[in-house]
Amino acid sequence: MAQPQVKFDATEERLAALSLPEGGWSEAARRDALARVRAIGLPHARDEYWKYTKPATLVAPEAPHAALFDSGEAPLFDAVDRLKVVFVDGVFDAEASDDLSLAGIEIERLGTSGADIHWAKDLYGRLELAGQDPVARPLAALNTAFATDGVLIRATGKAAKPVNLVYRHKSETSDAILHHCIKVEEGAELTVLENGPAAARFNKAMEVEVADNATFHHIRAQGRDHERRAATHLFARLGQESVFKSFTLTANGKLTRNEVVIELTGDDAVAHVAGACMGDGDFHHDDTVFVTHDAVNCESRQVFKKVLRNGARGVFQGKILVKPGAQQTDGYQISQSLLLDEDSEFDAKPELEIYADDVACSHGSTSGAIDEEALFYLRSRGVPVGHAEDLLTLAFLAEAVLEIEDHDLQDEINGRIEAWLLRRRAA
C-alpha cells in the first residue's frame, strides 16, 4: 500500500535523525525492523488507529522541550525490597543501580556488541513483529530498530524479589528509546516494577514471553512530570496455564499512549491488564489494547479507569479478538471515565471480534460525573465535600487498582492516588 507523501516524508525525516546501532546478535532484528518502519510509515494524524491521539510530537525528529519537575515526593517503591535498575534519560546508570544479580533470574543490560548467540535473539523484535498484524504499530518497530538501551531478563525460577526499572528524567530535551526483553521460563515467577518519567520524550517497548505455568506481574507508574510525552508498547505472549497481570498508574503528562498487545497461545492462560489515570488540564492519555485469544479456556480482563478534569482528555481503544477454535474464552473489558467537569473528554472505542461459538465476552464503557446521591450521603455523615469527592474518586478507580495482587504494592499505588487528589483539593 502506497503511503501518502506527507507520511513518507515525516518518516524519512525522523529516520534521518537516528542511527541504527550495528553489530551483535540484535543487528539482524534491527535491520528488519527498520525495513518495517519504512514499509508502514510512522503514525500520521489521518491514520484510523490514531484518530483520537495526535502522533505529531511522538514522530517529530526532535523531542519537544519538557520542563523538569521535582515532585518532592520520595520515589515510588522505595519502601519495597527490590532490585533497582536505573536509567537516566534513557541511559543505564550502573552507579545508581543495584548489582545486577538476583536469585531466580539472569539480568543484563541490552548491549549492541557481543556474540552473535544470545537467548534474547529469539525474542528481540519477535513479539513486536507478531503484534504488527492486524494493526500496524510503527513506533514499536522504530523502537526495535533504534533502541539504545534496555534490559534482558530471563527468569528461571521464582525471582527472589521484584525488578524495579527506574526512569529518571534530568534533561529537558532527552529523547529516550528503551527496549526490554523478558522471558519467564516454564514455572518461573517474576514481578517487574517500572516508575519515573524517563525523558522529555520516551519510546519504550517491552516484550514478555510467559512460558507454560509461568507467572508475570507488572506494575508501573509513569511519573508525575507535566510535560513529558511517551509512547509505550507492552507485548506479551502467554503459554499454557500461565498468568500475566499488568497495572499502570498515570498521573499527569502532556501525552501518553500505552499500547498493550497480548496473545494467549496456550490453553488455560490468564491475562489481566488494568490502568488508572488521573489528568488535570493539559493532559492526554491513550490506552490502546489488543488481546488475542488463540487457545482454549483462556481468561482476559481489561479494566481501565480515567479521572479527568480541566479539559483533560482520555482515550481507550480496546479489542478482544477470539480466533477460530479458541473455545471457552472468557473475555471482559471495561473502560470508564469520571469527568469532574464539563471541559473534559473521554473517547472510547471498544471492539469485540469473535470467531468461536462457545465464548463469553462482555464489554462496557461509561462516562459520568460524581454520583450526587452518594456525595450527599457522605456529606450528611459529616464528611467535607472535598474529602467526600476524593473517597468517591478512589472508589471509582478501585476496580483497576484491585487488579494489583500484592497488597503492599496496592497500598503504594493508592497512596499516590490519594496524594494526587489531596494536592488537587489544596490547589
Partner: protein, 251 residues
C-alpha cells in the same frame, strides 16, 4: 433543641410549594413523631433539615441548639449534631463500610476540634455496637450498603447513628421495608440512644414503629403544615380512623 418556625419550602426546579409554614420544637430528651399521609411533606422536611439540594427555603427558619442550620453545608449540619437516617440509604460501590464509618466519625471529631479516634478504639466500639444490631463482620467489610437487604441497610443507618452520636436524630420512614424482627432490632438500637441531651424526630407513615419507639409528642402533617399535635394517643387514633378525619378537622 430544634426550632422550626414558619418554614416554607418549594422545589428549586419547579414552582411547587411543599412546606407551607411548619412550626415545630423538639426538646432535648424527647421523641417527637411526625405522621401524615403520603405527599404531606414529611420527607421533604427531613431533606431540608439535612441540607439536600433541590429545595429552596422561601420563608421561615430552622435552628439547632441556637444555630441557624439552613445556611450550612450538609457536613456542617452533621458537625452541629444533626443526623438523618435515610429512608433509602445510598449504595456506594468501592467504599468499604468500615472506611466510611471511620471517615465520618473522624471528620466530625475534627470539625468539633476533637482528636481523631485511634483505630483500636474505633474497631472496639464498632464491633460492640454492630453486635447489638446483629451486623456481622462481613457486612462491615462490604462496600457501603451494596448488596444489603432492606433490613440490613436500616440497621446500618442505626449503626452510623450510634457511632456518630448526634444531638438530634431524624429517622425518615425507618420502618419502611422492615419485617417485625428487623423493626424490633432497629427500635432497640434507637431506644439505647435515648438520653436526656438528645432529641429525636421520627417520621413515619404507620403507627407500628411507635409501638417500639415510644414518642412523647405526636404531630400530624398534612399539605405542608402540622395540623394537629398531641400525645401518643394521637398515633393510635390515626391507626384506628386513618388520616382523613384529622386532616379535615385541622384544615
Amino acid at each position: 433543641m430544634l426550632n422550626i418556625e414558619n418554614l416554607h419550602v418549594k422545589l428549586e426546579e419547579e414552582d411547587k410549594q411543599i412546606l407551607k409554614g411548619v412550626n415545630l420544637e423538639v426538646e432535648a430528651g424527647k421523641v417527637h413523631a411526625i405522621m401524615g399521609p403520603n405527599g404531606s411533606g414529611k420527607s421533604t422536611l427531613s431533606y431540608v433539615l439535612s441540607g439536600r439540594d433541590g429545595y429552596e427555603v422561601t420563608e421561615g427558619s430552622a435552628n439547632l441548639l441556637g444555630e441557624d442550620i439552613l445556611e450550612m453545608d450538609p457536613e456542617e449540619r452533621a458537625a452541629a449534631g444533626l443526623f438523618l437516617a435515610f429512608q433509602y440509604p445510598v449504595e456506594i460501590p468501592g467504599v468499604g463500610n468500615m472506611t466510611f464509618l471511620r471517615t465520618a466519625v473522624n471528620a466530625q471529631r475534627k470539625a468539633r476540634g476533637q482528636e481523631e479516634m485511634s483505630s483500636t478504639d474505633f474497631l472496639k466500639e464498632v464491633r460492640a455496637k454492630a453486635k447489638e444490631l446483629e451486623i456481622d463482620a462481613e457486612m462491615l467489610k462490604r462496600p457501603v450498603n451494596v448488596g444489603f437487604s432492606g433490613g440490613e441497610k436500616k440497621r446500618n443507618e442505626i449503626l452510623q447513628m450510634a457511632m456518630i452520636a448526634p444531638k438530634l436524630c431524624i429517622l425518615d420512614e425507618t420502618d419502611s421495608g422492615l419485617d417485625v424482627d428487623a423493626m424490633k432490632l432497629v427500635a432497640d438500637g434507637v431506644n439505647k440512644l435515648r438520653s436526656p441531651d438528645r432529641g429525636f424526630l421520627v417520621i413515619t407513615h404507620y403507627q407500628r414503629l411507635l409501638n417500639h419507639i415510644k414518642p412523647d409528642v405526636v404531630h400530624i402533617m398534612s399539605d405542608g403544615r402540622i395540623v394537629k399535635t398531641g400525645g401518643p394517643e394521637l398515633a393510635l387514633e390515626v391507626e384506628e380512623n386513618g388520616y382523613a378525619d384529622i386532616v379535615t378537622e385541622g384544615a
